[in-house]
Symmetry: C2
Subunit: 197 residues, 2 copies
């Protein structure tokens, strides 16, 4: 009751996303959950996509805070990176539909504006953690944005393939966590200057 209607609509949309996937987030169901008429949402958001974008902004902000917390831990840079990736993978597994909305939905990504800014903040926080690892020579000494993007893309690929049930079937990698560990091990190995080069 303390929440304003727009916040309650966002919360209801997120809840429906968690319980029934994106298809379950109809404006009618959201409005019903909040206790308003089926088109009251239009008074707060441009359309259905605008409401989903608001959910995405909320979660990007939350992830940014979680990454910032990992970065400020008093542990080795590589441990910070692993911690951040654990947070990221856990989020994707607990809230698969939300994860998909933030990181794999083309329509949502097209919003730009505040949503894009929130996504960039999350990315920047993650990039800072990767930079810390590079400073310690735990990861290859190369363009930080490129390396960050590659790690981000790889982890996203592992998560998306698992979410689609395409990981078990291939039997290669049993879990996302295993894939992330393997990736970091290979990248660390690539960071070690080889005399053979």
């Amino acid at each position: 009751m303390a929440m304003k209607t727009d916040q309650r609509l966002i919360a209801a949309a997120a809840s429906l996303l968690d319980s029934g996937g994106e298809a379950a987030v109809t404006l009618r169901a959201v409005a019903l959950a909040v206790g308003v008429s089926h088109n009251a949402p239009y008074k707060h958001f441009k359309d259905r996509s605008g409401l989903l974008a608001a959910v995405a902004i909320q979660d990007f902000t939350m992830l940014t805070a979680a990454f910032a917390a990992a970065r400020q831990m008093r542990v080795k840079p590589l441990s910070k990176l692993k911690r951040a990736l654990t947070v990221f993978v856990s989020y994707s597994q607990r809230f698969p539909a939300r994860y998909r909305l933030l990181f794999s939905d083309p329509d949502i990504a097209a919003h730009g504006g505040e949503l894009e800014a929130a996504a960039l903040r999350t990315f920047a926080e993650f990039a800072a953690i990767v930079q810390g690892c590079q400073d310690e020579n735990d990861l290859p000494n190369m363009s930080n944005p490129e390396l960050t993007s590659l790690i981000y893309a790889s982890v996203h690929g592992l998560i998306d393939l698992q979410a689609g049930g395409r990981m078990r079937q291939e039997k290669g990698l049993a879990s996302v966590e295993g894939g992330v560990d393997l990736l970091l091990r290979l990248l660390s190995r690539a960071a070690t200057p080889s005399l053979a080069e």
Copy 2:
């Protein structure tokens, strides 16, 4: 006219996917394109999802053939891998909605049966190319399914992030192709035995 109705429905669905994305593939639009009544598709496929699965099977089969062709080229193993990845990335860029259907749609992946078998054949063909690189020590000497899955996931992640417009915004990697090159370079470096270990 030589095509049977079920094949024409598949072709029309693929065409609508290309021209308007997944949302444009309504059974009514598919039926209209083929010239049958709006529920004739139900006589050939279980439901809308079944029709989309048929499109996916068709394209998986095509990709399997393209990978097999790459593997039989008379060039270095690493060139075969690069060729296969170029085919894969090109497919994702020319037919983004189809790519998404095959590699990123949870509902479609849940079909199992013939669709899963077709996907596994594509993966097996790609794994054989990766194995060829491992035999030449161009890629790390480790479990082939694990390495294949990691490469596959990474490339998929790069493609999916670009498709969602999340690649330009981060400015890290300008293109999918650049990301794939970087990945292969780092993995090759990890394959070189280092005296420092």
